[in-house]
Assembly symmetry: C2
Homo-oligomer: 330 residues x 2
DNA sequence: CTGAAAGCGCTTACAG
DNA sequence: CTGAAAGCGCTTACAG
């Protein structure tokens, strides 16, 4: 038999109103009464029904998180940062994916309309999500992680600066004949741009024949670097837009008989768990995944909890990235 | 202005009761009336409030998932399997971690008592969770993933069989002087036992001096194998209880001047993303992570949806593991 | 086939 | 300091 507020009130010989007041720490309750009520609560193990409270208060204490999928590397780190902050603020995480295409979007729209959560975190959202009219029309607080999508505030790592650090690292080691294996999407584009800007400033030649396209897989990185080799291009350093791609580049170079790092230095992006175990281990850019999740959650909760102060919930927040130097590009 | 069932009823000139009947697809509604109601629903974009529905029905359509942490490799895969099934069944995922110790457990207890979800999935739960009295006292349907914890039904991979497959693989390649780097916990124990059983049947000597202890880190695997080398033990194969540990073993052997696989074959466990990129790539045991999540979610939802049939929600379900042969132990 | 009323378990003015 | 009543937005017997 589930114990309700009515039961607690009966046992403590007060009204439900008074029990509610004690529960919510309202000040105007007689001390002795409060003690009595608390005793009953403790004795019965009473906990208010989450559903009833949220219906009455109009707030669910739920934070929605929408992710493209859960299996890609790095997602877990971001989510852990989110979870730590959300849980510490006495909220819970309602996790959804867009892994199932149109059906996922339909579900998402319903959740927004059903007021299933008080605020929403969007991890690397597709345009179909940020353009969603149910979302646009709602006054739901939203923070985008890892991708800027107007008109929503966002939190992202400084990929361009990370890529620029790689370029400076190459130049400082006198690797001036650089090649890039890039990928599809905004992410890779920003990295390529950051990398390129440093070369431009340094007056290092960097034409389009030094760029090969790849998807975000090792096999794709491997064949991209093979194409570079086959093209006759002379290069002593390769920057890959992603560590998995870089791992493929390593394999491709080995197959082509180029020694890393002696003949060619290689750097990746992301600092995945595997990057420390490639042969040689990868020089790469570490993204502040956990901090990204924490910062986004903090901004959202600040809004939900009505912190009118400090960080207004608008505009982008950019978190720094770090160059991690390992043997592939010492 | 949020549109409610009352508003829909008013516009469709029917009672809330009738709207509710249409919403829930009750059969006894006049066809024309139903059409009219549906038109109003479509025109207003009305979606029932999730909170109100769950309070009235006594069901939240939420599935709780408790995980130790989100960053370890493999968790995301399991969660993806869970999410796919849960979302396809028109439920949502309430995700919590025990990452914050006692506070996490306290929160968990509150959620159980507050009826925050209709059913619960426990991923590799600590005893503190499965012994929790709020959980024991509740009649909440529970399924444990990746760890058997009476009295709850469970879904797990057949680790012992996977380890046995490794042992048979070693023996089939005539590697009979085997060593093991094991780890703490039930998981590693089961693997060691499965491995050992095959050796026993084959009459291959395997004393305790062939076992080194490690934690679940590469550094720990590296020093464990160094100890084996330093002990003067002669071995031509190493089975590590985990791929990260095996990656460390690879490093330790290289440092000790032992060639893999020529001098020593190495196998790990888990088939992590990094395992394909070590040098040489790791022979290992693939765990059915996604399928684990799917199977657990299906069992739980079967119970929630009242499928009185097929899979009763009791006892363990065991899913097969696969040997993945790569260059470290061809 | 349809609706008025009670109920789910809380909170919140309002009145005292 | 305290309680009766209304309300949050639905669903569900019950009666017609």
């Amino acid at each position: 038999m589930r114990v309700t507020i009515a039961e607690v009130a009966r046992r403590a010989r007060v009204s439900k109103t008074t029990v509610s007041r004690v529960l919510n720490n309202k000040s105007d309750v007689d001390a002795a009464t409060a003690v009595r009520v608390r005793e009953v609560i403790a004795a019965t193990g009473y906990i208010p029904s989450a559903g009833a409270v949220s219906l009455a208060k109009g707030r669910t204490r739920l934070v929605g998180v929408l992710v493209p999928a859960l299996s890609p590397p790095g997602i877990g780190e971001v989510l852990q940062g989110v979870a730590d902050v959300v849980e510490a603020s006495d909220h819970s995480l309602l996790l959804s994916t867009t892994n199932r295409g149109a059906d996922s979007l339909e579900r998402f729209t319903r959740q927004v309309r059903a007021h299933a959560f008080d605020g929403l975190l969007l991890l690397d959202p597709p345009a179909a999500v940020t353009d969603n009219s149910a979302l646009r029309d709602s006054d739901l607080p939203v923070v985008v992680i890892d991708g800027a999508r107007a008109p929503f505030p966002s939190v992202a790592g400084d990929d361009a600066a990370g890529a620029a650090a790689v370029a400076r690292h190459f130049l400082s080691r006198n690797r001036r004949r650089v090649a890039v294996v890039t990928g599809p999407g905004d992410r890779a584009t920003a990295r390529l741009a950051g990398f390129r800007s440093v070369l431009g400033e340094a007056g290092v030649p960097f034409a389009d024949d030094r760029v090969a396209e790849a998807a975000f897989t090792a096999g794709s990185g491997r064949s991209a670097v093979r194409r570079l080799v086959a093209s006759g291009l002379v290069f002593d350093a390769v920057f890959a837009c992603d560590d998995v791609v870089a791992a493929g580049v390593l394999i491709g170079l080995r197959e082509a008989g180029r020694a890393v790092p002696d003949d060619v230095a290689v750097a990746g992006f992301g600092d995945l768990p595997l990057s420390a175990f490639t042969q040689p281990p990868l020089t790469t850019v570490r993204r502040p995944l956990r901090a990204l999740g924490e910062a986004a959650a903090r901004r959202l909760l600040g809004k939900l909890l009505g912190d009118a102060g400090e960080t207004p919930l608008t505009g982008p927040t950019v978190l720094p990235t770090d160059l991690v130097v390992r043997a592939s590009a010492p």
